[in-house]
Symmetry: C2
Subunit: 709 residues, 2 copies
């Protein structure tokens, strides 16, 4: 990738002298920052801006290892063919007019893909803004050259952005508003060849990048993406557009992407240790916080000391801290003593620490210094949330030495700053130069603290493939099933297959007569459940095919007759032990177009639909992943046991979840598994109803691109 | 209150010539903006800043109807006594040193309260920043006089703020950052006399106020507050600090406030039609949005047209719109035709509308104008979300005429703006001058749209008192209960009382023998439930005192013996019809220190604790309030019926909720009612278990201040 980021020489195809055009902006940007050779290419000119202009890349002298292309779409394939002939390894295509414009454009883009595939030339774009690197001053983009006037502030956050306007707009916004530096902004557009995974791998190794932010509308190879992210020692923040229904529709018509199910994407990101953002500025704020504090905090508890000049702001901060699952730190005796030395005698010492009375007594600088030193030294404090004010009240002092001191202690500090606009900007710049992130809203500040402490950092990377030792105990049954004409296996067969793989299932038996039913009931013990099983009926309860609470032989007889009557076209009758559990869960397996095989856990019964309280992970899942799934359910408290009830056996439940993933990975013929309910009885989860959906040929074909083992 | 906001003459007690002191700041601020007479009071000076200075307010000539006091706390009572003698009707005490500083200060504050009570003089503060009125230029505050340099921008949002530093800090921040005007900022501090309710009533009538924001740490008279807010024709936004545990602790040590239960506060606010904010800047953003669009939108559906220059920003907007319960509008045929006229032919027209290709073709101004006109005229569009960019790309055009045009259509429009800092500020100022709110984050923009469309606007005001016609059918039983020594009524008695008031309860009977039990079972029909009732045992299940699923006479016998054995110290046995319902709810009544009698509805069973999915309303509640309670439950879908189940009879459920409130209002002796579970069976809710807690004398005394009828 080096020729994209640090080329020796660049051919600019589509260079022009017309100032309003992209080809002129790119050239201006190259001239301002790129130290290597620049070769404008345009048959209409012999020279542009004092540089020799060439009719084609074929005429360009050495050294040249990157071509930036900004000519109308239909001309692009020919240019690339010439680059191949000229042995230029990388081409950045910034022109639009490809798949985003409909069928014609799609054909054009397919042509590019073929060329790349056949010749090995690497293509970046098309329909993108290219690359801006504020550290090396490489602006390979038609972004307005006014960007240079604002000052390209070098920093340590790098971005990969699928949307072109967004990358340019946000770059300008960030440079001019935030006083925050940036390393590389990669606008990747339609991703015909170079895509997020490859760039991620480059940025993870890039010494100028400490944190990476991504905006994506599609994640075509979700599994590779997860593998890379889960291995990254650098924090990665991702914003996935198109998670809602309408958002997804918009995403499909935008960069011609396919958006995935929101819950699966969130689950996959969390599993891979990626921090999820929901808005652009929030993504940037998370990135700069993580770039300031890239390693995990020593203590993950997240006990925050709030130092404020406003009691009210302290209270609101405490509300956010608690609501986001962080803790308001209990200050040590030593800290209290130190604070007492600057506080007026009447002032009670508590956290949030309202410094105002002490500021009135000692001035801002002395008070803030004493307070910050004290909480930095307090072993019960994991992070500091500092409130700053610009514009008077003895609070306008030079904060830099204080910020530098905090950095020495190594505890994360985040500042909230309001006040007079000009002074606030100066104060922000000063404190951010010391590596302390500053925000204008309390909520955002606490969100960033939350990200520091509560991100799901993996200890071992996630690996897409497993060497599964999983084979069904009764392989004959499995073979029979595959030979069946139907794609949907009935409840009984589904549970038999699951049992073959080791999932605990309810004791049950297909019976042919009332006497067989009574015998089964005797062996299971009353109460029992009787069900009518008839091909094609999924919602048995609604069809009157489920009889629960059968606790006598008379009831068995009644139920048998009723079920027979309810199945005029025939069907079999199932007798089941009635499992009275404390919790109904739902567990399952499915194949996602972006992430492939996924495991699901959720609240079952009537709440499955009403609360949609489910969590997803991408298979294979580890025991830790399975536990993480349980922790993600909102109603997770029910798993821990409430009042005197027995908590769920987490190991047994994770066995089932791991197994579901392995079944799916081992059997490509299975499209979906649904265990609903998975009833927890005395702590042990038991599959009470289940269905397995086999993949149709069409499904198998459409999923062949998700590379599952 | 007029003498606080528009006094004829002001005595400033504690005026000084020392620039760093508050007394000097106040004087400077008065001199800069107040047109009436100013009388400095300080025995040490004969004149200050060219004004005659008086030794005491007693020496001040007429006209004077307001005293602003900034002298040390202990001197304040004497000053107020003198104001009483001088017949000055209003005093604004800005000094600190009162209840916020501990017991001594509390005594001092009690002294002030007594003087106000006995003499009728009105006191504002203490421990506050006073008043800033940007419209009349009345700055009765020690806020730094540099505020004049930034420009006091008059606007139509007024604020009431309990925290002093916050009101000053936010004022300066808002004036210098937001390019947003303000009307009055009232900092009310310890609220010894003048409090939020009275100021609210003033601001509701104030012609210069269109929307009101409040920051409060306590709402001592929650019921009056609700009445006022529910009657307000102007939108009210409130931020209540101290809703979490730690936040409440901080609030108590701050302005010496008592914070209430977060869920009750949120319920009360929603019921009174108040918009709740969680952060200061968010509160300001909600206020300015509502000041721009104070009346309810014509159509509450909230169908939003998104006009963007970035497909990615459009997608993220659509995600937020859907997640917040608004709709991405379907554009009409006419709108699509109009858009086609500016779009390149290949571009599909969808909402979010990605204008970029059209901007490239026609320039920004023409494209934006055509798009805005089209969606303004579209009857399927209720609001417009406009994306703006400052800093190039043909998007820097004068937006004012467009904004003015939108205002003519009367559809709310909100703009999201990023870009180059200086140009962005100019653009923001220009568009806000036309009354269009502008934000820098997509999330905040959509939050503000959400507030416009989804706020709970009452049709009739909430009224604290009711003429209840409620009397228990069997008043003898009620009298007996009140004579009982215990404060906690057992399940059976509790349900009898509830049934007397008209709440449907499960058929049940106390039985004394096995044969009585069998007779009861026969009359109810199997299955039945048997319970042991013994004084002082609340969690019967954990004590083995509940037997469910009894479906034969043999089981009755077994259960009878087991229950007898489980109650070695005696107790009675209850036989109950077993109610097998589809949903378990919890409903109740309690008394809140701030809001008095409250009704609660929530998800019952194991999820009551695990999900804490409950909603509160302040009694008395109307049928609409009861329906609103049901809508606030996260799992509300279960109430509507899922799959083929029968939906809850909403009228029957609201009867119970209304009744719970009326019982509480009619019977001050009842402290708490708990119906758990309230099982929904064939749509009808039935109280299956319940307990009534009677108030202790101590409780009755401590709650005497919440003025319940």
């Amino acid at each position: 990738m080096e020729y994209f980021f640090n080329p020796k020489g660049i051919a600019l195809v589509g260079a022009t002298t017309k100032p309003a055009r992209g080809g002129f902006s790119i050239l201006t940007n190259l001239l301002k920052g790129f130290a290597g050779n620049i070769y404008p290419v345009n048959p209409r000119y012999s020279s542009i801006e004092g540089l020799s202009c060439y009719p084609s890349v074929l005429d360009v002298p050495d050294p040249v290892d990157l071509a930036i292309v900004f000519v109308p779409g239909p001309l692009v394939p020919k240019v690339i063919q010439e680059c191949v002939m000229r042995k230029i390894p990388g081409v950045m295509i910034e022109s639009g007019g490809f798949s985003e414009t409909g069928d014609e454009g799609k054909k054009l883009q397919d042509m590019l893909r073929r060329i790349a595939h056949e010749t090995g030339i690497r293509l970046w774009g098309p329909n993108c803004m290219g690359l801006v690197d504020a550290v090396s001053h490489h602006v390979f983009s038609f972004v307005s050259p006014t960007i240079w006037d604002y000052g390209l502030i070098p920093g340590d956050v790098s971005l990969i952005v699928q949307s072109g306007m967004l990358s340019a707009g946000f770059l300008i916004d960030t440079m001019t508003h935030g006083t925050m530096g940036i390393s590389k902004v990669c606008s990747i557009g339609n991703k015909v060849d170079v895509e997020e995974c490859e760039l991620l791998e480059y940025l993870i190794k890039d010494p100028h990048t400490k944190a990476i932010g991504l905006y994506m509308e599609s994640i075509p190879d979700g599994r590779r993406f997860m593998e890379i992210c889960s291995r990254s020692p650098k924090p990665i923040v991702a914003l996935k557009g198109g998670k809602s229904r309408k958002g997804a529709e918009a995403a499909m018509s935008h960069t011609a992407s396919l958006s995935g199910n929101g819950a699966i994407i969130s689950g996959a990101m969390s599993q891979a240790g990626i921090i999820e953002a929901t808005d652009f500025k929030q993504m940037m704020d998370f990135c700069r916080t993580l770039a300031a504090y890239p390693s995990l905090p020593r203590n993950p508890a997240g006990r925050v000391a709030v130092l404020t000049y406003s009691g009210g702001a302290g209270i609101v901060s405490a509300d956010f801290i608690e609501n986001m699952g962080l803790e308001v730190a209990d200050l040590s005796w030593q800290t209290r003593q130190t604070l007492k030395s600057v506080f007026p005698g009447w002032m009670p010492i508590a956290n949030p620490v309202d410094l105002w009375p002490a500021v009135e007594k000692n001035g801002g600088e002395k008070t803030y210094r004493a307070a910050v030193e004290a909480v930095c030294a307090d072993p019960g404090v994991d992070a500091i949330f500092l409130h700053l004010f610009a514009g008077g009240f003895s609070l306008n002092f030079d904060i830099s030495p204080l910020a530098a001191r905090v950095k020495e202690f190594g505890k994360p500090m985040i500042a909230w700053l309001i006040g007079e606009r000009k002074q606030a900007r100066e104060m922000q710049t000063a404190i951010q130069k010391q590596g302390i992130p500053v925000f204008r809203e309390i909520q955002r500040s606490v969100e960033c603290l939350h990200v520091l402490f509560k991100r799901n950092k993996r200890e071992t990377p996630w690996c897409s493939s497993i060497q599964s030792s999983l084979t069904p105990k009764a392989s004959d049954r499995w073979k029979q099933v595959l030979a069946m004409p139907s794609n949907s296996l009935d409840e009984h067969v589904s549970k038999q297959i699951l049992a073959d793989f080791g999932v605990p299932t309810v004791p049950e038996k297909i019976i042919r007569s009332i006497s067989e039913a009574k015998a089964a009931a005797t062996s299971f013990g009353f109460p029992i459940v009787m069900k009518g099983i008839t091909p094609g009926v999924v919602h048995k309860t609604e069809q009157g095919l489920v009889r629960i609470g059968i606790h006598s032989n008379e009831m068995v007889e009644t139920a048998f007759s009723a079920l027979r009557a309810a199945m005029p076209n025939g069907g079999s009758i199932l007798v089941q032990q009635q499992i009275n559990g404390s919790i109904e869960l739902i567990a399952g397996f499915l194949r996602d177009p972006q992430f492939g095989p996924c495991v699901m856990l959720g609240l079952g019964g009537i709440f499955a639909e009403a609360l949609a309280d489910t969590a997803f992970a991408v298979a294979p899942i580890s025991r830790k992943d399975a536990f993480h799934l349980m922790d993600q359910i909102r109603a997770q408290k029910v798993l821990n046991g409430f009042r005197n009830s027995i908590p769920v056996n987490r190991d047994a439940l994770s066995d089932i979840l791991i197994c579901l993933g392995e079944i799916g990975l081992s059997c490509p013929q299975i499209q979906e598994i649904d265990i609903n309910p998975l009833i927890v009885c005395n702590g042990g989860p038991i599959a009470v109803d289940a269905s397995i959906i086999l993949a149709t040929d069409a499904f198998l074909q459409s999923h062949s691109h998700t590379k599952t083992p």
